[in-house]
């Protein structure tokens, strides 16, 4: 299970990514963060953000407008 759960539902750009960054900063390498958002651009945003970082996107999916991402700290 995730070591940290970040709830960014209802928040608008750029808050989800700022919260994600803060969340990752608080973790150790190898730990997992679960992040939930409702911002419609989230899927592209998080794929791009993880690509530019050393982290790994373990899982991403969308159910009823809620995006869930599992990110492993690199």
């Amino acid at each position: 299970m995730a070591d940290l759960i970040v709830d960014a539902k209802g928040l608008a750009c750029p808050m989800p990514i700022v919260k994600a960054k803060k969340g990752m900063d608080s973790l150790q390498t190898g730990q997992l963060m679960k992040l939930q958002t409702t911002d419609k651009g989230s899927m592209k945003d998080f794929q791009a953000w993880v690509n530019q970082s050393k982290h790994e996107l373990v899982e991403s999916h969308e159910v009823n407008g809620v995006f869930t991402f599992i990110v492993k700290k690199g």
């Binding site: 209802g10 608008a12 750009c13 750029p14 990514i17 700022v18 994600a20 960054k21 953000w49 970082s53």
Partner: protein
């Protein structure tokens, strides 16, 4: 992190609310990418940094007139389109609240929290008659050479 950080710079030339919001959203996004972010404020962009209260200081009549005509701070900026004499900003602020988007003052606060460097251009401060006491605390003051020094190292450089 051991290697040096990526850098991004933004020149905020415009004093329009919508453009300032865009600049600060990009700055906060870049900070979330762990970039070292610098925003240079020049010309009308400097008004974003003004304190909202009147700061008593000695000025010539022309500087005083400039000071009165320019918006005093982030909350007083007008829109680049559909300003409607100040009604436009009220409407957009209402809509932003509804969409749970951060206001410009909140975006500025967030940028500071994330360590975004804010640099005021001293030459244009002189032109517009703006003094350091009138601007927010915690700014840096520099000129074009400092900007170019940062921009040359950065991969993302925007002029807004």
């Amino acid at each position: 992190m051991s290697e040096s950080k990526e850098k991004s710079t933004i020149v905020l030339f415009s004093g329009d609310l919508d453009k300032a919001i865009a600049a600060f959203i990009i700055a906060n996004g870049a900070a979330a990418y762990d970039h070292e972010v610098t925003i240079f404020f020049t010309f009308w962009g400097l008004n974003t940094l003004r304190k909202d209260q009147d700061v008593a200081n000695e000025k010539g009549w022309l500087e005083k007139a400039f000071g009165r005509m320019m918006p005093r701070g982030a909350d007083k900026l007008g829109l680049s389109r559909m300003n409607f004499g100040g009604l436009g900003p009220k409407m957009i602020k209402h809509v932003m609240k509804k969409h749970n988007a951060l206001s410009l003052p909140q975006l500025i606060e967030l940028a500071r929290e994330q360590g975004v460097r804010m640099v005021a251009c001293t030459m244009t401060m002189d032109l517009l008659g703006l003094q350091q006491e009138e601007l927010l605390d915690g700014l840096e003051y520099a000129g074009v050479a400092a900007y170019l020094g940062d921009a040359a190292d950065a991969r993302v450089n925007l002029f807004i």
